[in-house]
Symmetry: C2
Subunit: 214 residues, 2 copies
DNA sequence: GCAAAAGTGTTACCGGTACACCCATGT
DNA sequence: ACATGGGTGTACCGGTAACACTTTTGC
């Protein structure tokens, strides 16, 4: 049944700001665009919404086809709808952000797409409003990181408090007092201390922690 | 130029959760639906996005045509995109919430549309996912009210702190300590005390305040 | 011994909460 | 005079910021 006749229709897409964490840097995955216009320019990974999909499902599909992962942490950010935002036609796009472990990506898949991980402070020129999408996503990521404890999706399963501390520092672009940070994250009760120690990055060695099950 | 061929297109709409404040109650404007399916059922005011419009512009247009007001406080809430959310066809809809002064609405216009203001806790059955849209909007309103000081768009230009207090109480569904509330809102520096007093609702009379210019 | 990172402890302050209290005035 | 809502003052509590301090171990 289709009862809305003579109403205009639009292309609708999702664009995914995929955050990863590697070498103590917060990074975003960009790929060279595969279609005109702006063929070859750096772009977020996106895709058109299919008839049987919700936007969330479309975003999950894009994630799966880009980095080969499923059940990814995804968050709706904002809808971008300026009539001229895409020079290839009228496309209304929903921005999402995702958090993944770079180590778990399907490397072959990413390489095939020409994907490249860019440090958050050294991004290249991008097509359309993708820069704006990233800005909004980072804001939202910060607001989530502020209220919840994040890291589960970005860090390895076992990690030290120093690593978590560093992650928060790069997300917010500033350093937190490490003593206070330690107390705060432990007070959430969301972490458990393991018996094992990480010994590479300090002489003393620091205990591993991991997130409790959800 | 249209370079995206053979991609599916969709109807895209905006739905507006219009909040108003009257008789110490938080209310939402609903209208009987004018088209099939579910003709006559209670519905948020919405409209399809036109080719030259952004979603924000579409929402503003809907507001203008519903209550006759322009330059309204509007906030993007969430996109609703379940393929089956609208039984009349595939429609992807962006929910917005708006804050207006009920006293400033164009009464004739609203009456013509059959609009009715419903108290937030006594809403009727609504079409599709409009109930969910309202829930999400109220959440967002609460989060904005928590961080910013709201009331400028809902209260009359001059208002007492008691009125503002009452507004916050109905928005959050609980009463705040009035002494602390008073201190908190005054500490924002966003209000100025007027010389005039409101004398109807108490023997002593209470000073009017108003919001500073943005 | 010393540097470097891990980890603990102590103090001060700030914002919020609870609540007691005073004020002005119409009845 | 007293009930009623307006308005102020104070004491307390918890979280957090600032920072001094101890621990461990490789060099």
């Amino acid at each position: 049944m289709e009862t809305y006749l003579n109403e205009p229709k639009y292309l609708v897409s999702v664009d995914c700001v995929i955050f990863g964490y590697e070498s103590e840097e917060l990074k975003i995955l960009l790929c060279p665009r595969l279609v005109a216009p702006n063929y070859g320019s750096w772009s977020l990974m996106g895709g058109f919404v299919m008839p049987d999909e919700s936007l969330d499902q479309a975003a999950n599909r894009v994630l799966k086809s880009t980095v080969g992962l499923e059940n990814i942490y995804l968050e709706q950010v904002k809808t971008f709808s300026d009539p001229n935002r895409d020079s290839g036609g009228r496309v209304i796009s929903q921005a999402y952000f995702a958090l993944i472990r770079i180590s778990e990506q399907d490397k072959k898949l990413v390489r095939n797409k020409g994907g490249h991980w860019w440090e958050i402070n050294q991004l290249p020129e991008m097509i359309f409003d993708h820069g704006e999408m990233i800005k909004e996503s980072l804001k939202k990521l910060q607001s989530v990181a502020f209220t919840d404890l994040i890291g589960r999706e970005l860090l390895p399963e076992k990690f030290t408090l120093s690593q978590l501390h560093k992650l928060y520092s790069v997300i917010f672009g500033k350093t937190f007092d490490s003593a206070n940070f330690r107390k705060k994250v432990l007070s959430t009760g969301k972490l458990i201390k393991l018996d094992e120690k990480e010994t590479k990055s300090s002489k003393k060695g620091s205990f591993y922690y991991k997130f409790l099950a959800d």
